[in-house]
C-alpha cells in the first residue's frame, strides 16, 4: 500500500475524521442537554435535593455503592433504593451503621442530623425518578 497510501493522506484522514466525529458528538450532546431537564424532572430539583447530592459526595458514598450503575461494586445500587426501601427504612439504616456483624461488609457511621437525612433521602427520591430507560431490570438493582 506504500505508494498509493502515503503518510500525508493518512494524516489528512485523521484530521477530517476527527473533525467529523467531534461535530457529530457535539450535536448529540447539544440535543441531550436540551432533553435532560425533562428526563430528570429538573423542576423537582429543589435546594434540598442539591444539598443531598452534596452530602452524597462529601461522604464518598460512590466509593462503595453504584448510583445508576456507576461507582463501586461493593455495596448495593442506590439509584432505586428509594423505591426498594422507602423513606423511613433508609434513615433507620443509615443511623444504625455499622452493623458490626463479624465478617460482614461494614458501612461507616456518618453522624448525620435529621435534617441532613431528609436532604439525602430527597436526593435519592429525585434520583429514583430519573427516566433511565427502565434500568435496572428489577427492584433489586
Amino acid at each position: 500500500m506504500s505508494q498509493f497510501f502515503t503518510k500525508s493522506m493518512a494524516r489528512n484522514i485523521f484530521y477530517g475524521g476527527t473533525l467529523f466525529s467531534v461535530l457529530l458528538f457535539l450535536a448529540l450532546t447539544f440535543h441531550t442537554t436540551w432533553k435532560v431537564p425533562q428526563r430528570s424532572n429538573a423542576a423537582n430539583l429543589t435546594e434540598q435535593v442539591a444539598r443531598g447530592k452534596h452530602l452524597w459526595e462529601t461522604r464518598n458514598c460512590i466509593g462503595c455503592h453504584t448510583l445508576l450503575g456507576e461507582g463501586a461494586y461493593f455495596a448495593p445500587e442506590l439509584g432505586n433504593v428509594y423505591k426498594r426501601r422507602g423513606d423511613a427504612f433508609i434513615k433507620v439504616w443509615i443511623k444504625a451503621q455499622p452493623t458490626k456483624v463479624p465478617g460482614r461488609r461494614q458501612m461507616p457511621q456518618f453522624n448525620f442530623t435529621d435534617a441532613q437525612l431528609d436532604d439525602l433521602v430527597a436526593f435519592l427520591k429525585w434520583t429514583s425518578e430519573i427516566n433511565t430507560e427502565n434500568w435496572p431490570p428489577n427492584v433489586e438493582g
Binding site: 466525529s21 461522604r59 462503595c64 455495596a75 433489586e140
Partner: protein, 478 residues
C-alpha cells in the same frame, strides 16, 4: 555507541522511579480491598473500603501520569533532536506533583473524607466525591498547574526542534488529556448532567486521547528496537489514532444508556463503541508486523516483549472485554457488575500499565548508563512480565465468572435475589481473585528485584558496553 543522545532526557528517570513506587502502593491497596470483599470487616473502621478504593484508583492514575510525563521527557528531546526546553522546570514539577500526590493520599487515610472536603475548600467549588475525581480542590488545581508547565516545556521543545508524527501525536494526546481534565471542575447539581460530563474525563481519556499517547510511545519504542523505516511506522500511527477517535468520541454513548440521557444513545453508543476494538486490533497487527520486519536484532529482549504484550493485552482487555458488554441489550444486565470490574482491570493493565512499563523497560537501562540490562536482569524482568500478565488474566477471568453469576441471580432469573445475598454466593471467585492478586504482587516483586540483578561475574566483561562521555556526565541518582 552513544547512550543518552540528549543530556536533558535524564529528567525522565525520577518520573519513572516515582511511577514504579506508586504502582506498588496501588497493588497493596488492591489486595486490602480484595480481602474486604470476602472478610467484610477487615481493617474496618481504620480503612473503610471506599477509602482504600480511592487510594487504589488515584494511585493508578497518578503513576500512569508520572509514566506518561517521563515518557514524554525521554522521547521528545530524542525525536526533536534538541535538548529539553527547561530541565529545571521538569524537576520542579516532579517534586510538586509527588508532594501533592503524597499529601492527598495521606489526607485520604488520616482525615474523614467529609472533613477533608471541608478543610480544602470543597464548599467554594464542590468537585469531590465523584469516582476517580475524589481529589481535594488544591490537588486538582495542582494537577492543572503541573499539566500546564509540562505542556509548555514539551511544547517549546517540539517547536524549536524537528517535528515528527510521533511528537505531534503525543502532544495532541497530552493536550487532550489536560483539556478534558477541566471537566473535573464542572459539577452541576443535576446528577444526569454531572454524569454526562464526568465521562468526558473518564471515557474520553482512556478511549480517546490516551490512545494517542499510547500509540506515540509504542511507535517510538518500535522504531528504536526494530529499526523499521519511520515513514511506515508513522503512517500506521495515523491510521490507528483515526480509528481511535472516530470510534471513541461518539462511543462515549455506551455510558449514556441508563443515566437519564435520551434512548437514542443505545444506538449511537452501541454502534460506535462496537467499533472501538478496531484501533486496538490495528495496534496488534502493527506491532507484530514491525517486529517481524525488523532490520536489527535489538539486545533489549524484555522491551520487545513488553511492546508486543501491550498490544495483545490491550486488545483483549479493552477490545474483547469491552465489546462483551458494550451493546445495550447486554449492558442492561451487566451494567455496574463485576463484569465492569473485570474489564476495567484488564483494559487498564493491558493498555496503560503495560505501555508505561514498555517505555521504562526500553529507556531505564539507558538512563542508568547502559544500552541494555544484563542478561540475568532481563530474564527476571521477563519472568515478572509473565507473572503479572498471567495473574491479571486470571483476575479478569474470576471477576468475569463472578459477574456472570451476579447478573444471573440478581437481574435475570424470575425471583431475583438481593445484592448482598448474591455477593455471599460469589466468595469462591473473590478468594481466587485475591490469590491471583498475590501472584501479581510476587510478579511485581520480581520486577523490582530485576532492577538490581547483576550477571554472574564471568559474563560481565562480555556484555558490558564501554562507558561513554555522556554517561559519565549523568547525575548519580541511583
Amino acid at each position: 555507541m552513544q547512550l543518552l543522545q540528549y543530556k536533558s532526557q535524564a529528567v525522565a528517570k525520577p518520573y519513572f522511579i516515582a511511577a514504579i513506587g506508586l504502582f506498588v502502593g496501588q497493588i497493596l491497596f488492591g489486595l486490602i480491598m480484595g480481602l474486604q470483599y470476602v472478610i467484610g470487616d477487615f481493617m474496618f473502621p481504620a480503612i473503610p473500603f471506599n477509602i482504600a478504593r480511592m487510594v487504589h484508583t488515584n494511585l493508578l492514575i497518578v503513576w500512569l501520569l508520572f509514566g506518561f510525563m517521563g515518557a514524554a521527557y525521554y522521547l521528545v528531546p530524542e525525536e526533536s533532536e534538541t535538548e529539553l526546553h527547561s530541565p529545571l522546570l521538569a524537576h520542579l514539577m516532579f517534586w510538586i506533583f509527588l508532594i501533592a500526590g503524597a499529601l492527598t493520599i495521606v489526607g485520604y487515610l488520616s482525615v474523614p473524607y467529609a472533613s477533608l472536603a471541608e478543610m480544602t475548600g470543597n464548599n467554594l467549588l464542590a468537585t469531590m466525591g465523584r469516582e476517580f475525581l475524589e481529589q481535594p480542590l488544591p490537588t486538582k488545581l495542582g494537577i492543572v498547574v503541573v499539566a500546564l508547565a509540562f505542556l509548555y516545556n514539551i511544547g517549546m521543545t517540539i517547536l524549536k526542534g524537528r517535528k515528527t508524527a510521533i511528537t505531534i501525536i503525543l502532544l495532541t494526546g497530552l493536550i487532550g488529556l489536560a483539556g478534558f481534565f477541566l471537566f473535573a471542575f464542572y459539577n452541576p447539581s443535576n446528577l444526569v448532567k454531572d454524569k454526562y460530563f464526568w465521562w468526558w474525563v473518564v471515557h474520553l481519556w482512556v478511549e480517546g486521547v490516551w490512545e494517542l499517547i499510547m500509540g506515540a510511545i509504542l511507535g517510538f519504542v518500535l522504531i528504536k528496537i526494530t529499526g523499521v523505516d519511520r515513514e511506515v511506522i508513522e503512517k500506521w500511527l495515523y491510521v490507528i489514532i483515526t480509528l481511535a477517535l472516530v470510534t471513541g468520541l461518539v462511543g462515549t454513548g455506551h455510558h449514556y444508556y441508563w443515566i437519564g440521557a435520551p434512548g437514542y444513545w443505545q444506538w449511537w453508543g452501541g454502534f460506535f463503541s462496537a467499533l472501538e476494538p478496531l484501533p486496538f486490533f490495528a495496534m496488534v497487527v502493527f506491532c507484530f508486523n514491525m517486529v517481524n520486519r525488523r532490520r536489527r536484532q535489538h539486545p533489549n529482549k524484555a522491551a520487545t516483549l513488553w511492546a508486543l504484550g501491550t498490544a495483545v493485552m490491550a486488545f483483549l482487555g479493552a477490545g474483547v472485554w469491552g465489546f462483551l458488554h458494550t451493546l445495550a441489550p447486554v449492558n442492561y444486565y451487566t451494567h455496574g457488575t463485576q463484569i465492569t470490574a473485570a474489564h476495567g482491570h484488564m483494559a487498564f493493565y493491558g493498555a496503560y500499565v503495560m505501555v508505561v512499563l514498555t517505555i521504562i523497560s526500553y529507556a531505564m537501562p539507558i538512563l542508568r548508563g547502559r544500552e541494555v540490562n544484563p542478561e540475568r536482569a532481563q530474564v527476571l524482568e521477563m519472568w515478572a512480565f509473565w507473572l503479572m500478565t498471567v495473574s491479571m488474566v486470571f483476575i479478569t477471568l474470576f471477576l468475569t465468572a463472578a459477574g456472570i453469576l451476579q447478573s444471573w441471580l440478581q437481574r435475570i432469573i424470575p425471583n431475583p435475589q438481593s445484592f448482598m445475598q448474591v455477593q455471599d454466593q460469589l466468595h469462591i471467585f473473590y478468594w481466587l481473585r485475591e490469590l491471583a492478586g498475590l501472584v501479581f504482587l510476587i510478579g511485581l516483586g520480581v520486577y523490582l528485584y530485576s532492577f538490581f540483578a547483576k550477571d554472574k561475574p564471568q559474563t560481565v566483561e562480555v556484555s558490558e558496553p564501554a562507558p561513554t562521555a555522556t554517561v559519565a556526565s549523568q547525575p548519580a541518582t541511583t
